[in-house]
């Protein structure tokens, strides 16, 4: 399982992040989790800019993205990722408190891979995180490395 790629987790709420990390922990997910607090950071990370300028060039197995975030919100990150030929191969899962239809519609129009509403109930929340992590992080076959490599050559 050592060849499992990391998961990019973007949520502005440290409380939710902690809960999600706990859930991953409980599931003993082997993937490394990179946790960021807003959309701007996420974009910096993906494009290896600013403080992520010298990170390794591995792309995440998938991005777990909150919608409502300061500076750059989740939809904007999704739009940029899905309109960049190099990045759009990375699966993006929206995980949010909102179940507003407009968010669902916009997310799917922008090409989201999955949309999960965060359950209020903790056990359900843990289950949801486990399921998402298990499917997209372990079960799902990520795009071949060649695609990721081309992304690096384009972004660097």
């Amino acid at each position: 399982m050592s060849d499992l790629k990391h998961i990019l987790f973007v949520d502005d709420s440290p409380r939710d992040t902690k809960l999600a990390l706990k859930a991953f922990q409980e599931y003993s997910l082997a993937n490394r989790i990179v946790s960021l607090e807003d959309g701007e950071e996420a974009l910096d990370y993906l494009y290896r800019r600013e403080r992520f300028a010298d990170r390794d060039n591995e792309m995440p197995s998938f991005i777990l993205l909150d919608l409502k975030m300061p500076k750059v919100d989740g939809l904007e990150v999704l739009r940029i990722v899905k309109s960049d030929p190099a990045l759009k191969v990375i699966p993006v899962v929206i995980m949010t408190s909102s179940r507003e239809e407009q968010d669902l519609v916009s997310s799917y129009q922008l090409g989201v891979n999955a949309f999960v509403v965060k359950p209020v109930n903790f056990k359900e929340f843990v289950d949801a995180v486990k399921m998402v992590g298990g499917f997209w992080g372990v079960l799902n076959e990520p795009p071949p490395g060649g695609l990721g490599a081309s992304a690096q050559s384009m972004t660097s």
Binding site: R15, D16, S97, E101, V120, F122, F125
Partner: protein, 487 residues
């Protein structure tokens, strides 16, 4: 005959003028005819009487000397008088003495002379005068005149009258159709304008003002009315636009509000729940039983609040989402809603009585919600029954729509709480008896109202409940190929 009332005003006016004209002409002709007939009779009677006296004088000698030939000759002189067609002479003893007839056929005369004077027979007038000699009656003369002249005159008069009636009728019609225009044309124009106005809802029409009479002032009043309606209309439109804008703004605010309720209120709840879990895990075994119970209360309370928020959002969504009207086959919807309740019905003894349901016009998604809520309630509140009996059916028609019902034999409700039944977050049962937030029926009512239908409930405590609602029926569809195959 088509009643005069329903006739167009143009024809009414023409008809009235024609009738009046004909009556006058007819009366005038009749009066003239009567006068003429009377006049001719008087003249004829006078002339014939004089003629009879003259002939009587000329036949004195022949009669007194019993000279029949002379008498005949004298009578024959009457040939010069065209209107006398027969005559005869009676002797003093009353026997026929001599006669004369204008035509070959011998006229028939009475055997005895009738009394002096004149009388009318069909087509004839008969005048009888005495033949006197030295103040002594020696016989009677009878003259019969032909009345054909009078009847000819009458016929002529009839023909003339007819021609005059026809001519005057034609003339009156031409005149009437010209004249009536000044009366009926403005009314016809006005009527046409009103028709256009009401049909096209076009209040910008303006009529020319034709005259200063009543129709003229009617037109003026009508124009004023139109102007006023037009103004009121545009004011109303302006106001509607304004209000719509305000409503749209309010609606946007409401959407933003419910969005933030959805997102921002749920997050802290999740945190309460999550951290209570983390806390209980961290203090595993170190907490007193009471403290663990308290933590459970916090968890349950936040859980409950989460459900309330979800329900409130669902309720506000049923008011906002657009309805897509299509033909919905309710049979399928009911089956779907029953399948959706599987986890609630598992292990229960439920007798389902589902009658065939009609196809209705409505929004499939929200109608599915209606059945899910009503059937869900029926399942929930019949929990204590074994077996539970749940009926879904159509109870005929009401308000021109299909009257549908969902009935159960559950715990029912007291009718005095009926007004509360469809309220938001109104519950008639303790949470410990039956779970729920009290939003289901409020959602049902809102959906049915948005479909233009009505909802009502009947029930009695411990004797079950029936929920009725109406939906517009879909027009019967021609049997589809699939149905035909099934047949």
């Amino acid at each position: 005959m088509k009643s005069l009332r329903d006739m167009p005003i143009k024809r009414k006016v023409t008809l009235v003028i024609l009738l009046i004209c004909w009556v006058i002409v007819f009366l005038a002709c009749a009066a003239m005819g009567t006068y003429q007939i009377v006049q001719v009779r008087l003249v004829l009677e006078r002339d014939t009487t004089v003629l009879a006296d003259v002939v009587a004088n000329n036949t004195q000698a022949a009669l007194s000397f019993h000279n029949e030939n002379d008498a005949k000759e004298t009578l024959h002189a009457l040939e010069a008088v065209p209107y006398v067609d027969a005559a005869c002479l009676y002797s003093s003893d009353g026997s026929l003495f001599a006669d004369y007839s204008r035509w070959q056929a011998k006229a028939s005369f009475p055997d005895k002379p009738p009394g002096d004077g004149y009388h009318f027979e069909p087509r004839h007038m008969v005048v009888v005068r005495p033949v006197m000699l030295n103040n002594k009656r020696i016989g009677s003369i009878l003259l019969r005149t032909d009345l054909r002249e009078i009847s000819d005159r009458l016929k002529l008069l009839g023909v003339v009258t007819g021609l005059v009636l026809l001519g005057s009728g034609g003339l009156a019609k031409v005149l009437a159709s010209r004249l009536q225009q000044s009366i009926s044309q403005p009314i016809v124009t006005l009527t046409e304008a009103v028709r256009v106005m009401t049909e096209r809802k076009d209040y910008t029409v303006h009529l020319p003002e034709p005259s200063r009479d009543e129709t003229g002032s009617l037109t003026v009043a009508f124009n004023q009315l139109l102007t006023e309606i037009h103004q009121l209309n545009s004011q109303l439109e302006q106001r509607v636009r304004e209000r719509t804008r305000q409503l749209e703004e309010a609606n946007k605010e409401l959407e933003a509000f419910s969005y933030s309720v959805s997102h921002d209120l749920r997050a802290p709840l999740r945190h309460i729940q999550g951290y209570v879990e983390l806390l209980s895990a961290a203090t595993n075994g170190h907490l007193s039983a009471e403290a663990r119970e308290d933590l459970q209360v916090i968890s349950d309370a936040s859980n409950g609040m989460g459900h309330l928020i979800d329900d409130l959002l669902a309720f506000s969504r049923t008011g906002r989402t657009e309805l897509r009207t299509e033909t919905v086959h309710l049979d399928g919807l009911v089956q779907e809603s029953i399948r959706g309740l599987e986890h609630a019905t598992r292990g229960r003894n439920i007798v389902w009585k589902i009658s065939p349901l009609p196809a209705v016009l409505g929004d499939r998604g929200t109608l599915r919600q209606v059945f899910a809520n009503l059937v869900g309630n029926a399942v929930k509140y019949s929990g204590p029954r074994d077996p539970a009996v749940i009926e879904v059916g159509c109870a005929g028609e009401e308000d021109g729509g299909a009257l549908l019902f969902v009935r159960d034999n559950g715990v029912g409700f007291n009718m005095k709480y009926l007004p509360k039944l469809f309220g938001v977050f109104q519950r008639l049962h303790k949470a410990s008896e039956f779970e729920g937030t009290g939003i289901g029926l409020a959602i049902v009512q809102r959906i049915i109202h948005r479909h233009g239908g009505r909802v009502r409930a009947e029930g009695a405590l411990n004797q079950g409940a029936t929920f009725y609602f109406t939906l517009k029926q879909a027009a019967p569809e021609p049997a589809s190929k699939e149905q035909e195959r099934q047949l």
